[in-house]
Point group: C2
Chain length 164, copies 2
Amino acid sequence: MILIHWRDNFTARQNDAAMNEKNIRAILRKANLRCTRGRVDVLQVLLESPDPTTHEDLHKKLQGTGINRVTVYRVLETLQKSGIVHRVEAGDRIWRFAVCGRMHPGHCHPHFICRQCGKIECLKEFPMPDMPSVAKDYTVEEQEMYLRGICPNCASKIKNLKCK
Amino acid sequence: MILIHWRDNFTARQNDAAMNEKNIRAILRKANLRCTRGRVDVLQVLLESPDPTTHEDLHKKLQGTGINRVTVYRVLETLQKSGIVHRVEAGDRIWRFAVCGRMHPGHCHPHFICRQCGKIECLKEFPMPDMPSVAKDYTVEEQEMYLRGICPNCASKIKNLKCK
DNA sequence: TGTTAATATGCAACAGAGTTGCATATGTAT
DNA sequence: ATACATATGCAACTCTGTTGCATATTAACA
C-alpha cells in the first residue's frame, strides 16, 4: 500500500521533494481530504520530524510559507481526526503531533517522556502492550500508553558524570 | 425545621468526618506534610469522589470553606508530588486528580475516558499491564495508560436506543 | 504555654496554548 | 469556466494554570 511505501522511502532518505509531495497528496486523498498548501506543508514537516511536534514548532518551521498560526491548529486537528496523525499528551498542556505508523490510526506505540530533558518520543519499535482485560461493559476503542523516566541520552550523561 | 433537619444530618456526618479527618491527618503526616485546613479538606473531597476531580470541581465543593482557588492548585500539586494523589490526562487540557490506591504513588491502574459523555474513570480493579519490553537504554520509572471508548452507562443508553 | 521558623495561603495579576467568528481565498468536481 | 464546499487569514478572545508578595498558620521546641 501507499502508506507503507512512502514510509520506506522516507526511512531510506532517498526521496526528493516532488516525490514526497506526491506521496503526501496520496495520503490526503486517501483520507478524502483536500490537498491544501497548509496540509501538505504540515504533513511534510511531521514526516521529517523524529519526535512528536508542537503547534509552535510547526509554525516556526513553516514561517517561510506564511501559514497562519491558527491554520496550523486547524490542519493538525483535521489530520488527527482523519487518523493520519496522533496526538501526544506530555503532561505539560502542550499538544504534540506525530504521524501514525503502519496504517494505524491513533496510537499504535507507547510514548516515552524523559523527566530530565523533557524529550518526548514515539517508541515506534515497541508494540502497545496487550489490552488489559477490562470488564466487558467497557468498549475500548483506543489505547494510549506513556512511559516516564530517563531517556538514553540523559542516562549516558548521568553515567558520564558518575565516571568522573 | 429545615435547619434542624440539616443539623442532625450534619452531626451524623460530623462524626464520620472526625474519624475520616484522623485518617487524613495520618496520611499527610506519613508524607511529612503539614495538616493544613486546605489539605485536609481537599483530600477529603478526593477520597469521597469516585472519579478523578478537576481543580474547579474541588473549588466548588469547598467554597463553603473559603479556600482560595490558587490554594486548590497548590494543594493538589503538593499532594501529587508527595505521591498521595495522581494526575490524570484526559486530553482536554484540564487536569484531574484522584487518590492513589494501595500505597502506590503515581498511576497504578489504567484510566478510561468515554468519548460519548466525557466521563473519566480510574479503573482501579484492573492492573496496569506489564511494562512493555522497552530497550534497556530507557529507564522506565512510571507508566500511564488511557483507554478510550464507550463507558458502560453510554453503552447501555445506546443499546436502549437501538431497542426502540 | 509561648515563641519562632518554615511554609501555606489569599489576593491580584498574569501567561500562553488553544479557540472563535467572519470575510475572503482556494481546491476540485462538473 | 463555474460553482460550491471548505480552508485560511486575521483579530480577538477564553480559560486553565502560574507568579509574586504580604500575611496567616502549623508544629517543633523550650
